[in-house]
Amino acid sequence: MDFWSNFLINLVQGLTTTLQILVISIPLSIITGFILGFARVYGNKIIFYISTGISTTFRGLPLIVTLLILFFGLADLKIYLSPFWASILGFTLCGGSYISEYVKGAIQSIEQGQAEAARALGMNKLQEIIYIILPQTLIRALPGVSNEIIYMIQYSSLSFVIGVKEIFSVAKTFNSLYFRSIEIFTTVAFVYLLLIAIATLVFKIIENKLKIT
């Protein structure tokens, strides 16, 4: 088989893995981000410190270090994660921590004006959060969340360091076999650019649909 068809077939396999990782870790990190974000605003002291601690740690640690710790480091403690699930855990923790920042900001910007109004309608705190705050947070945090997801698409390439056979690891393997570096990495760059262009477009459409005028 010639280089290109061999490379492209493997690239598609790698892309499948990349997409699997993203499809699982994007929703998980959004959920994590919202839980952390709300915990940071509404939690009692203990919950506040735990959620803030998680968010600060995983925003401070480079993602690549997080991945190495989750895969190699935890093995020292006899906790064995597969490369695939270690990546998903890493992306979820990192992405969720960043998303919680946007969520927190969104909640606080809404709280300022509308909490009293909700109280005046006779809502209790939980009702206020569910009916008033949450729906608006979803919309207001969206630009930040979409930004974060675009980063996640880029940084999903890092899971190759713990041995996930995703698209970049395919490229790396082919590079060491064929040394056609420019073709190989330009092709991979192109795939990422395409993924990001699609994601950007999708978020634009969603944002326009949800725009409150």
Partner: protein
């Protein structure tokens, strides 16, 4: 597993701090040198120049750093006959990428300066270039400091990715130690802590500069 020799290796990991710092400061410096002129050109030039520069920005912002690193280290530089060390390659790539991000920072800052000041500069007889250099850029630089400090933190985290082409920065050394001692968790944690401390110290530094350059009386929405 050998915890005694792990302690002996600690200074070795710490020395990586200098390499990490070189990556970050080098990248930030090159990024600034590229980003300020490009951000300025995008703000003030015609739409064709704008389009071309935006293409550069988009490509370098959207391609994963690791792909760029490998593309330049194995592809671009050897192909044009440049034998560059992993460190130099990494600094250049970090710089090119940061340049794209910094262009956006400076563009945003320049656009936030009210047009009235430029008109006032014209009314004194300044040329467009004079107005940009003496009126808008000094103000834009200051406005950009918080974003630049954010860029510093991002670069520091990205610098760890340069371990993939073997730059002897903190993370690479942690990996070497982990292989030598058979212990992974502690060296990687130490690497992580060193990088987080560097982030913290750097952010403090930027904050001090921002405070020092405050324009009395001016309230900014940052």
């Amino acid at each position: 597993m050998n915890y005694i020799s792990l302690i002996e290796y600690l200074p070795y990991i710490f020395e990586g701090l200098l390499w990490s710092l070189a990556l970050v400061l080098g990248g930030l410096g090159i990024g600034f040198t590229i980003g300020l002129p490009i951000g300025t050109m995008i703000t003030y030039s015609d739409k064709y120049t704008k389009f071309i520069l935006n293409v550069y920005i988009w490509i370098f912002r959207s391609t994963p750093l690791i792909v760029l690193l490998f593309l330049f280290y194995w592809g671009v530089f050897p192909n044009i006959g440049l034998k560059l060390s992993p460190l130099i390659t990494s600094i250049i790539v970090l710089g090119l990428r940061s340049g794209a991000y910094q262009s956006e920072i400076f563009r945003g800052a320049l656009e936030s300066i009210d047009e009235g000041q430029i008109l006032a500069a014209y009314s004194l007889g300044m040329s467009k270039i004079q107005a940009i250099i003496s009126i808008t850029i000094p103000q834009a630089l200051r406005i950009s400091i918080p974003s630049l400090s954010n860029e510093y933190a991002i670069l520091l985290k990205d610098s760890a990715i340069c371990f993939t082409i073997g730059v002897l920065e903190v993370l690479t050394r942690a990996r070497i130690v982990s292989i030598a001692t058979g212990i992974a968790l502690i060296p990687y944690l130490i690497a992580g802590i060193i990088l987080m401390m560097m982030t913290y110290i750097g952010l403090k530094f930027f904050h001090t500069v921002y405070k020092k350059t405050v324009i009395p009386g001016l309230i900014e929405g940052i």
